[in-house]
């Protein structure tokens, strides 16, 4: 069994409309976020990954399984979709229970797993109510429970935090982190960038059906040459530090932070800049901290895709 989710030259067209084009990916364990504006191909990529749609070209394998082999693939994959419809007349518990029975679980096992999944998403009290009476957040959570119920190795979650209140969001994020810590592959699509930034081990940036960048956010950022790296230096004498930094050939721009206790600098070669900074620190300026200021998802997104339809 392969240890990656792979896309090899995958394209998907809906008639003449492009879904995704020439996607090559190799997704490792951990939390991977798909980021992009509406219509960029996030959901298409997830539907391709789970076999709900077939690629027009290319091949997808999920830990070695073909996506047209649902019997085996969905033993290790759980997918919480954005589709907000449920089979009619079922309670939350029955929804999860019948999903597990469909999976071939025996009655006792299905019952146990259904209760566990419902507990994990904190929906125990509402589980005996009809899904039709659920709020948007509850429906989101019961979908998550369905995806989690059979303890899959791969969790594909399309906008999983939509409709959740802040407390539920942090609970779910903790859940995803715990799953990733156990070696699961958690694929999340989101357009809420600060959340993506907090939870992702790696990101896949999509725009108009193309993968614009993929990998750990820092490495993605380092590959963006046309935008100088921004570094925030916390120190006691920012103006003095700025004067000294301008002697360095790697420095492009510097501005004193608005609180007066730091300096925001732009450089084209961060590594060499850091080395020269070490030398300056020896000259009597007390430096509290040095941190990259634009190697987060938001900055990378803005550099690569622009500023459309994202929530910071």
């Amino acid at each position: 069994m392969s240890d990656r989710i792979t896309f090899e030259d995958v394209s998907k067209f809906y008639g003449e409309i492009l879904g995704v084009n020439r996607v090559n990916l190799s997704i490792p364990p951990g939390i991977t976020s798909l980021v992009g504006p509406n219509g960029s191909g996030k959901t298409t990529l997830m539907n391709l990954m789970t076999g709900l749609v077939r690629p027009s070209r290319g091949q997808i394998r999920v830990l070695g399984f073909k996506t047209d082999d649902p019997e085996n693939m969905f033993k290790i994959v759980g997918y919480s979709t954005q589709f907000d419809a449920f089979p009619k007349g079922l309670t939350g518990y029955q929804f999860i229970y019948s999903y597990l029975c469909l999976s071939g679980e025996g009655s006792e096992n299905a019952e146990r797993l259904a209760r566990q999944a419902i507990e994990r998403v904190n929906l125990v009290e509402a589980s005996s109510r009809s899904v039709a009476s659920y709020s948007k957040g509850m429906r989101q959570r019961i979908r998550l429970a369905q995806a989690l119920a059979h303890n899959p190795k791969v969790l594909v979650l399309d906008e999983p935090l939509n409709g959740l209140d802040p407390l539920a969001r942090s609970e779910m994020i903790a859940l995803f982190r715990a799953a990733a810590a156990q070696g699961c592959y958690v694929i999340i699509s989101s357009h809420i960038l600060h959340e993506v930034d907090v939870i992702s081990d790696q990101v896949i940036l999509l725009s108009n059906g193309y993968v614009v960048a993929e990998g750990q956010i820092q490495s993605v950022r380092s590959e963006i040459q046309e935008h100088p790296t921004q570094i925030l230096i916390r120190c006691d004498r920012p103006r003095a530090l700025a004067a000294k930094l301008f002697e360095s050939e790697y420095m492009i721009e510097a501005s004193v932070h608005k609180d007066g206790h730091g300096l925001l600098v732009k450089t084209r070669d961060a590594d060499r800049f850091y080395l020269s900074l070490n030398q300056l620190a020896l000259d009597g300026i007390e430096i509290e901290s040095i941190a990259p200021a634009d190697d987060d998802v938001l900055s990378v997104y803005e550099y690569l895709i622009g500023n459309e339809e994202v929530v910071r």
Partner: protein, 366 residues
Amino acid sequence: MTRKTWTQVRAVMRLEMKKTFFAKRGLWIYAVALLPVLLFIVYAAVMANEQHGTANIARRSEKSLTYQDLLAVKPGMTKEEVTTLLGRPPDTFHWIENRPGENGSHVSISHEQYHYSDGQNDLWVGMVDSKVENINIHEAFNLGQDAVMFAGVFQFFFLRLAIFFGCLGIFMNLFRGEILDRSLHFYFLSPIRRDVLMAGKFLAGLLATCVIFVASEMLQTLAFLWHFSPSTRDLYLYHNHGLEHAFIYAGVTVLACIGYGAFFLVAGMLFKNPILPAAAILIWEGINPFLPAILKQFSVIYYLKSLCPVDIPVSPGTPAFFALLVSNSDPISAPLAVIGVIVVASVALVVSGLQVRRLEINYTTE
């Protein structure tokens, strides 16, 4: 079939049965299935009312008559001979006819009609100038005629319309309904083979249609027998193959559900609009008698007609077009007919199986 596959099929069936039996949009199927039952209840009520009238005539008769007494009246007998034989009539009707005679005069002719009954059968004796001119016996129970009537309702309403549209409503919705409800992905996210899913859905639809339509067929038989006297009922059921026919009709109903169910299952996957395939299949089944022998074999009605236990006779003078529609000009043996339906259904199910594997979840284009 492995134990796991069977567990999955049962899980699909449990979910589908609930939807199929209790869906609001499927209520019309119950109405269609119960329509022939209603027809036979009305028929039985009319017949019971007629029998009540017949019994009333018999009670008011001067003599207690038998069926043989009624048959003894012959044309040409005089009024006195009739009343001597059967007694004074309990119900009479008479009128005078004035016919133009020679020399512009009028001739008066006396018409009379006597109504007798033995309690079950009616005799109408028409007399002209006190002589029997015509005799009309109406038997309370004509089992042969009633069996043909039942066969007509079964073949031309129940089989070709009620079961046909009932199967359309249930089987087409198995996949298409869920695509429209945007809930089909729920099944596709399970570790279940798509063809196993299809089999579960088909069996659920089959069970639902069989329960609805076999129950309807049984109720039709009960309603049909309702107005019979107990002795006539026994005669019909045990000596006139009535019970055997009821079971054969139930079997034909099951086969119709299998055949049409498989057709509509595949149609529901291939077409977005159910009206077009339904119309096409309806026309195809309708023109079956006019098709060449080879093409006939690709329809369900061809096999079902051969399995029906009672042939519907064609009355003399029926136009050739209708005669061909009614008669079964090219019947095949019962075993071949059963195999034929199963083969046709299997072909449709194989196509469904291939189609379901290619099915994508793309609700926005639906």
